[in-house]
Symmetry: D2
Subunit: 165 residues, 4 copies
């Protein structure tokens, strides 16, 4: 419990909300603190929002910021909440550059504010994996853990899967 | 993913429901399949309900059944959903007797059917830990993992903690 | 909208919460303000908690307090949240004594804090009926409105019904 | 209670769902039956889906269909679920043409499938008003009831209000 886990928030489905006036989905604040409170989580964490974007709109510059923040973080263990559409791209950027920290990317298929979100389950898995796995960059979704260099999102099913078994 | 994870259901807060006619909490069926569907879990599991009891009412005989079922299960990895009040007692029975399997006990502070349950988060953590940890008996609650021989539930705070740091 | 509706809170299933430490249902604060906010209700209301009890434990003295408060209230229109088990008894006490105000008793079969409560629906109905009906004492549950002298709770089905059609 | 209430579904925020694959809101099926079951509603209703559209995209032809369906319905009492953006336009079409039935338009500011929807509250109000009001066309939102010829949606606040007090 000494060294807290760092959580970087980048947006994604996790944090989408419904705008009553426009009828559209948008980003306001992250729900991470609320989720950890609901979970009664007793893992020490430090949450920092880096950006609040749909991952389809994430730029190379954005990924540069994430990479730099991971490098600079004093923590050995880092969780990144991220949209699922380009999660594997960011994982690739981090995986090629960082070898001495345990970094877990996670997200959700359904916004947390929707009652039926998978977000709380994924967050529980991400916090468990980030505490047990050795150095490396991983994607944790829906109970499974993938290495950054052997994962893709299947655009038809919406699920993450290995490139090769 | 070849060998599925075995999940044994024993009741506990996880599965409590509200009885409209009597105004009391009671057990009907387990919510585990519903929870795993909500979580979009892609981990192969086999769920079996052993009993549906408040863990304060769990007997030595009940624990004998759980122990025997863990021994007989062909799976190497087992999750047991359990009431939190005597979770450490059952963990002790299993921990002294079984040394070649990874067994994770988990539960919830708030019933799943209450909107504000920690159950989905704990289930996400349990599924992650059971896939990564070596043989042993563990309690996974609220983001943390405890060995069976170094854990107790603090009756004042309601939280699990190490006996010794 | 000039004269706000008075809401008297007396407890009942509506406001039951789950106690994490004891595993029992109990009363803390009323959820009425939270429910009206969720509902985005634009009806002027003044909420006052008279008691927080299971209606099976409501005494004649308690009913005397409710009656006196209804008499003294400057508002013409009053909603009382109440446990369903003895809702008809309180309605009877009020119906025989008060003839110049519109009083609606309502409640819930499932606690509001359970995700699957009928409470918000019943509150919506109660606020509508209390604004449209003439003087009298009524029970509003599950979309229907009953006069105080022609209603009973069916103990087998848990539903309210007319004594005579 | 002999003659059931007719409910016409036209879409609107009420029934928006989140599409996991595209990350957009869309319409699938109506949630009305599910909502009435949750509400334990005991009002006889007949539900019919006329269309599933965002009310910003509702055409004159669509409104013609709604008008014709209201005219042809054997029921005296009709609820129409409708997007809030042009609810007043449809109310105007109906109000000028139908004078012998009680018609209530209602909707939601937040989709029902979002945990925090006002939909259940509005449905409770709509069912109450439709049973008590005389012939006319009304908009019921957030605890209040407006006549079709004295209502508008305030685009800044998102709330319905009278044109003149």
């Amino acid at each position: 419990m000494d060294t807290p886990v760092r959580i970087f928030v980048t947006g994604g489905t996790f944090d989408k909300e419904y705008d009553e006036l426009t009828g559209r989905l948008y980003f306001k604040d992250t729900h991470l603190p609320e989720m950890l409170q609901l979970a009664r989580s007793r893992v020490g964490v430090e949450i920092r929002t880096l950006m609040m974007v749909d991952s389809l709109e994430m730029t190379d510059e954005d990924r540069g910021i994430i990479l730099e923040q991971c490098r600079k973080a004093p923590q050995q263990r880092i969780i990144i909440t991220h949209g699922t559409d380009t999660m594997e791209v960011t994982a690739h950027v981090l995986g090629q550059a960082i070898h001495d920290k345990t970094i877990v990317l996670t997200g959700a298929m359904i916004p947390y504010k929707f009652g039926s979100s998978d977000g709380l389950f994924n967050l529980g898995g991400a916090l468990a994996y980030v505490q047990t796995l050795g150095p490396g960059v991983y994607i944790v979704m829906n109970g499974r853990c993938f290495s950054w260099d052997n994962v893709r999102k299947n655009r038809t099913t919406g699920q993450f899967e290995e490139l090769s078994p």
